[in-house]
Symmetry: D2
């Protein structure tokens, strides 16, 4: 099989890319993300047609937020959206004349990094994607671990804190509430409110108020040494690393990959994650350690990953 | 391959059993557990020779507490004992003239239940063993998931409570401290101390003091309706079920199996575990549910499991 | 001094009552609560004038939500409203020709119960008011404990769960998030979502959905034995009682008084609170226990309390 | 009244001092602490006789660990010892011919600092004593707040972490387990085990193993910049400050005093405590802040405090 299309459904735009078997993106088309599920499906159709205008493609893979069923056809549930039992595969196939595979977006990104990114050479990899939320993907023996019902590796919703923060999924204390881009912004705002004297750089990058602090300000302020920004990254890293230590107790992979927007910060966030990971790893002195690697493909991981999964059929 | 021996290293006795390929135990030999690692190795040799006196056996499997390496040869670390990098396979092979396979005891029990017990017919199973501590085993696609370094499925030491109870592994808040036989005894003693008026039945079964309460008393008292005993099982079940919900988010198995001494209580403890599991399962209404099954093989699961793993070589 | 007016600022209405020195309310006037602070102040003026039309009154006491300063003049901060350094006393005195005393509303209710309600005969009383939120008041040696800066006894915002639920005050894990009317509704909705089969009675009282569950439904359903409703009250009681045990370690009062809307349920909620309190009381067997009493004055406690505080000047 | 004796019962020695009304110690006598309660009582008698040989004294005050009753006569309960309803006053008065007053040792230290130390000039003070454990004392309006039953201000046993660390009192998650000298040693040992590369200085001061780390090593290593030692103090400070913020919500004092062995480190530990306190103080921007002061009297606070309380009768 030759070229396939990978579709990435983002919060603001939907991107479809023609990808070859080496993971190279030959062409990309983007459209704004409509607010409704039906609108999204139409937009996917448009983006796919657009991207494939000049290429012959054999299949389409779609990385979708939420829980995808074992037939890779239906989005069962999205913790932070209102999609429920959305038959995405059928509806998209009605709009385009190509076989469609649906995959959870974090699974897709994990597969992309495993196949074409930093995971190359490993057989057992656990990947976490720290974006607005926290997603995960697991490769065991060179195969994507989808679980019996298709919904494995939903790391964002394991409980880190009993009676903890409310989560979009309805539970409390989910990992996503403590190790995600949203959590990072919360940490920075809380600290800027409590100790504005340590947040001068950070506050100066926004509108001057804690409420005006956004993710990009925190990254920039951390690079400039702002204590509140640095401390906010450390707090995120503390929770991320502790969770990785749990994942080592569960999956025991050969390597961890940390992707998502937060991984763009590189060692600024990776080093404290590694430190926290070692801090909590059970029997740390007596066992081999999995490496904690930064993802390489950035925002393209999901697109190339899901295109490859579609290629495999 | 025909008969193999499964060895179970318990806190008080070491049992070796000759097991056929259907998981039937033909002969068992037991010796008391010596206090040192070297003594244990000698005792294993004795028990194996004893059990195999009248049978021709092809291999020996040993279920050991702790972290076993990827070569299934060395116990790297035992959270609650002092074993560190103990070359169990080599040392036992020097004493008996048979190939030896070492496996984590909870992995062995999981395999036993999967192959010969309640897990028959499933391909993806997660098993927890609630004994004095809490162990786990995972079967994915009909294969035991050992992890890259051999130490997967160490469920007892995932963190359930940040800054929680001290654990023998050195960390705090490990699941084992909240969902195990030891935890059950602690729950009962704390409640009997705080509200002795609700613990009359329980206290009457021991020496009359909270400190005298043991596991067997709690089971008996719960069957007689003692409020403190029933409530202690519920507390254990609350934590066990919440952990199963996390495991569903991680592994997404087709079935859970709950084994170990606590599972002998049957629905007394299984029903509240199931209830707590449903309570915390993310997206509970929108996804297929894995069943939560009681183990069938009791204390024999580890022996027949590890004998079968040795048979497979 | 003879008659004074007590003013109660509620979420939907402002009530002013003429109260005599025995705590008897002679006349009440109510007006709807305006949305802005200035509107509230005007409305207080109207209500006071209305209530005092036929009585000669000497002073006005106002029970206000939030932190009141040591001069009993200014509302410094309201965790769940936007008032900041609101000079309530001055502004109201400009509208009516009477001396005004401002007091935190939960302090006012505590004083009312101490002086005219169930606290009569005690000298050292700690009162918690479980309404939409959780407020507190402390009487030591027969005097209201206001603290050095006027902001003592803000029980709702002590931290019960590190990294816990977000609170209107900006912190996380505040007691108010676990032991309040709002928490009760959250408990019931979560449980009705996870186990609808146990919530039939509760769901039948509302619109059939978990989101439609309100406080009054939970009370009614609990009285009819609905498992989810009963369990929700127990969860609230678990947290309320654990907090009272902490307050015993801190203040060591002769009696606790539990007031607010939740206390209207009587022993349905008081008994599990008492049980949880005993469960967590340090050294429970070796020390005298403060009684846990249900408030007697219902929604009038604040009005008669603050009227009495105004009488004392 | 002129001179009185203050007795301090420590873990290794009992000290009796003759103290004048200005808090000056004129004479001290010490004896080793016997293991039994009766032995302690005899030893107190000896120390008092010894100290008073050349002075005329009017009364004796004894600072005792644990819960002291409202008659200041009996130790009801000691969380970390086996004393239960020990009639200390009567037994000591039988041995010496002087009136005896018993006071909780942390209350005594609080009174000492209030009257003769850093608390001078304040009327409302909350004192925490961070030694091996964590004790507290409260002065309200210039009077020691003993509570209705004598057992107020037992700060060490308020619950900071639900389901947290086991405490000598029988409960879990007590503040004492997170903000005390014992906690500091635990923090340092855990960190030295997990990241020995950051503990070189600390480990070099002891026997080279994490288990050999003691409190004095941590102080010294922190002064020399050892990352693990500094981080251990920060962790202690994080919990101490969060607890002070709770105490501000409860008592609203004019000043906090931090005493006990840990306060000997001065700003090394006080500054991070202050930072954590501000971080968690509810409505921090809108209210007056109590100062957080370091105790001045060191180990003498309890002796001069209890001598003064005995003087007042």
């Amino acid at each position: 099989m030759g070229l396939t299309i990978g579709v990435d459904i983002g919060g603001t735009k939907i991107a479809a890319g023609v990808v070859d078997e080496r993971g190279t993106i030959l062409e990309t088309s983007t459209v704004p993300t409509p607010p409704t599920a039906d609108g999204v499906i139409d937009a996917i159709g448009d983006a796919v047609r657009d991207a494939s205008a000049e290429y012959e493609v054999d299949a389409v893979g779609i990385g979708a937020p939420g829980y995808v069923d074992d037939k890779r056809a239906t989005v069962l549930f999205t913790p932070n959206l209102t999609w429920r039992h959305e038959a995405l595969k059928d509806k998209v196939e009605q709009r385009i004349d190509l076989p469609v595979v649906i995959e959870n977006d974090a699974n897709a990104a994990a597969w992309g990094e495993y196949k074409f990114g930093v995971g190359t050479g490993h057989e057992d990899v656990v990947c976490i994607t720290i974006g607005t939320g926290l997603g995960g993907g697991v490769i065991i023996g060179g195969r994507l671990h989808r679980g019996r019902f298709g919904v494995a590796a939903e790391f964002g919703h394991i409980r880190m804190v009993p009676d903890g923060l409310l989560c979009g999924c309805g539970n409390q204390g989910c990992w996503e509430q403590y190790a995600s881009g949203s959590a990072l912004v919360r940490y920075a705002r809380q600290r800027a409110t409590a100790t504005p004297e340590n947040a001068a750089i950070l506050l100066g990058l926004g509108d001057g108020t804690p409420e005006g602090v956004e993710g990009k300000h925190i990254s920039e302020a951390a690079r400039r040494g702002c204590p509140v920004a640095v401390d906010s990254f450390r707090e995120l890293a503390r929770w991320a690393g502790a969770g990785l230590a749990d994942l080592a107790s569960l999956f025991d992979p050969g390597a961890f990959i940390v992707g998502g927007g937060v991984s763009d910060e590189g060692d600024l966030v990776l080093d404290p994650i590694r430190k926290s990971y070692r801090r909590w790893l059970v029997g740390s002195r007596w066992r081999p350690h999995a490496e904690v690697l930064a993802a390489q493909l950035g925002g393209k991981a999901g697109m190339v990953g899901v295109a490859d999964l579609a290629r495999q059929g």
